[in-house]
């Protein structure tokens, strides 16, 4: 059983689009690592500071619904993985962002609104809250000084195989 995760960064808004995650002016880069410093540089949101050190040290993102909508740019996934993110937890995702995440081995988890609300509440009280997820057992551990507990999540067996195979390209090359 291998757990991934760590400290959590929160984004309390629905419909965060991929233009906000990485503006188009950086799409002229062909190398993933070059984009890393620009994560959510232009995101305008109360209480959000793209220069916050927590943004660069967290491993898990928790947000609301329809995360990653808009442009198909996979750069929006790479800019998270290049900054060390391993897990995103949200109520829902835009289709292309979700598929891009699986294709890159970034674990995206969907939980109901009530559970997400609860995670936001804990996060407000304990900024050192951590989340660790295990893709095999489909379980995640929430650790904080307020409360610690485990939650179940589900992931399609297909995407599980894709992630385990090291991404879609290796999977497709082997299978088709």
């Amino acid at each position: 059983m291998s757990q991934i995760g760590g400290k959590v960064f929160f984004l309390d808004r629905n419909d965060i689009n991929t233009d906000e995650i990485i503006p188009a002016k950086y799409l002229t880069e062909v190398e993933k690592k070059v984009m890393a410093p620009f994560l959510m540089e232009d995101l305008k949101m109360e209480g959000f500071d793209p220069k916050s050190p927590q943004l660069k040290t967290s491993k898990v993102l928790i947000t609301r619904s329809n995360f990653g909508c808009g442009s198909s740019r996979e750069h929006a996934v790479w800019v998270f993985t290049e900054n060390g993110y391993q897990v995103i937890i949200a109520e829902s995702y835009a289709r292309i962002f979700k598929q891009n995440s699986y294709n890159n081995g970034l674990l995206v988890i969907e939980l109901d609104k009530k559970t997400i609300d609860r995670l936001f509440e804990i996060g407000k009280k304990d900024e050192n809250m951590e989340v660790f997820a295990d893709i095999d057992s489909e379980k995640m551990e929430v650790k904080s000084k307020i409360d610690s507990f485990s939650l179940n999540f589900t992931i399609s067996p297909f995407y599980k195989s894709v992630v385990k195979e090291g991404g879609w390209i290796s999977y497709a090359d082997k299978t088709y």
Partner: protein, 427 residues
């Protein structure tokens, strides 16, 4: 139980169902542009998998920044150009032969009813206007498509939008799709296909239909879909006349892709065209839509006419008709980009370019540039634009800029007044 168009297309292209609701389907076309394709090419090369499933089914174009504006964009162009040559991809549209992907590929006859198409661009849903299943994907899915000719999708649940009646004067397909997105919301069609039917749609040209399907993604939709009919056959005739002896034969064949009368839909929305008015977005999400008259008088700095949504000949004709013999308002600048060289040349022949330039509109080469704030018309912080494009996200056309999405007629009315203006005053 009957099937929808998307279900029929999936059934005929099924490679494997690796999980209950996942379908790996074969692809008829894989399109690419210079922004999202080069990382796929570099990754294939790094993995030692630099090969393609079929060079005749891969079509490439330079459209986001063209001509190159700096060293980085020139490198993107070069990677695509060299790779096309290496793999014998003959349909590569380089600078001078290039146009906005979702306008030029249909124009070249690459899109047919019943096709499955992917591209590393979210507005790929446009091509569903021909009765195809066409979906935007990320770089990795594009890469898998170029390598193996397959892609994975969830079951294609379908939302049916049925529009009936005659569109009132001053109301166009752009106003229809803005009204639809307002109704569905920005994630109302996530993981679903949007089928557009009804006599209003059947009366539309292919250009107007592409404006509808283009914005399916703005409601989260995977593909837009419109049944292929006589108008589709006419548009494609030059490309299909060797295959079908008569237009009737083509139409009869295309009809096999129509949804069955007893097909099962996730949702059905009926719209009475006669009740629609010119529409415009007001916030930073494409479902924040009002009637143009509700925002009238609000000042505007720039008007942009073009893009994969509304940069086609019909759109240019509407604008030319409205600005003919007039000058644009002194407080506003107007940029117009015909979506392809063919559209540009047609506009020249019809005298449209003269009319636009006499009105003091800047006409640029075909490019996506300004729509996503990459080149050719970026806003300064605090500036406001009215555009015929598809996304009004915060900062989309330049950091701190505000974008209102509207029809070419509304954009032309704003060009003349410098303020948000209902186009019906000029028609």
């Amino acid at each position: 139980m009957g099937k929808t168009t998307a279900e029929k297309i999936f059934e005929t292209h099924m490679v494997e169902k690796p999980a209950e609701d996942i379908n790996v389907i074969s692809l008829d076309m894989v399109f690419g542009h210079e922004v999202t394709t080069p990382p796929a090419i570099l990754d294939l090369q790094e993995k030692g998998l630099d090969k393609v499933f079929d060079p005749n089914k891969i079509k490439l174009v330079i459209d986001h920044v063209t001509p190159a504006k700096d060293t980085q964009t020139a490198i993107q162009h070069k990677i695509l150009r060299d790779w096309a040559k290496k793999h014998g991809i003959k349909d590569f549209f380089d600078v001078g032969r290039n146009g906005v992907c979702h306008a030029i590929f249909p124009e070249k006859g690459f899109v047919r009813p019943g096709y499955t198409i992917i591209m590393g661009d979210s507005h790929t849903c446009t091509h569903g206007a021909f009765g195809a299943f066409a979906a935007g994907v990320g770089t990795t899915d594009l890469e898998g498509g170029m390598l193996k000719g397959v892609c994975a999708f969830k079951d294609p649940k379908t939302i049916k939008i049925e529009v009936n009646g005659k569109l009132p004067k001053g109301v166009y397909s752009k106003d229809v799709i803005l009204a639809v997105i307002k109704e569905l919301g920005v994630n109302g069609a996530t993981d679903k296909v949007i089928e557009f039917t009804g006599d209003t749609i059947r009366a539309m040209s292919m250009e107007a239909r592409m404006t509808l399907t283009n914005m399916a993604i703005e409601a989260g939709g995977t593909s837009g879909i419109i049944y292929p009919d006589e108008i589709t056959v006419d548009y494609l005739w030059d490309f299909i006349k060797d295959e079908y002896k008569t237009k009737e034969a083509a139409l009869n064949d295309f009809k096999k892709w129509w949804s069955d009368p007893d097909a099962v839909y996730d949702k059905v929305i009926k719209i009475d065209a006669a009740t629609l008015e010119p529409m415009i977005t007001f916030g930073y999400k494409p479902d924040q839509v009002k009637k143009v008259k509700e925002l009238e008088g609000s000042p505007v700095n720039q008007v942009y006419i073009g893009s994969c949504t509304n940069g086609r000949i019909e759109d240019l004709r509407i604008v030319a008709e409205m600005v003919k013999g007039k000058k644009i308002h002194p407080d506003v600048r107007v940029i117009l980009s015909p979506a392809t060289p063919k559209i540009f040349q047609q506009a020249l022949k019809e005298g449209i370019i003269d009319i636009l330039m006499d009105a003091e509109i800047t006409v640029t080469n075909p490019t996506c540039g300004a729509c996503l704030g990459m080149s050719n018309g970026i806003l300064a912080p605090g500036e406001v634009a009215v555009t015929t494009t598809n996304r009004n996200f915060n900062g989309r056309m330049g950091k701190g800029g505000m974008v209102h999405l509207a029809s070419p007629a509304t954009a032309a009315a704003v060009a003349l007044t410098g303020k948000i203006t209902d186009p019906r005053a000029f028609l």
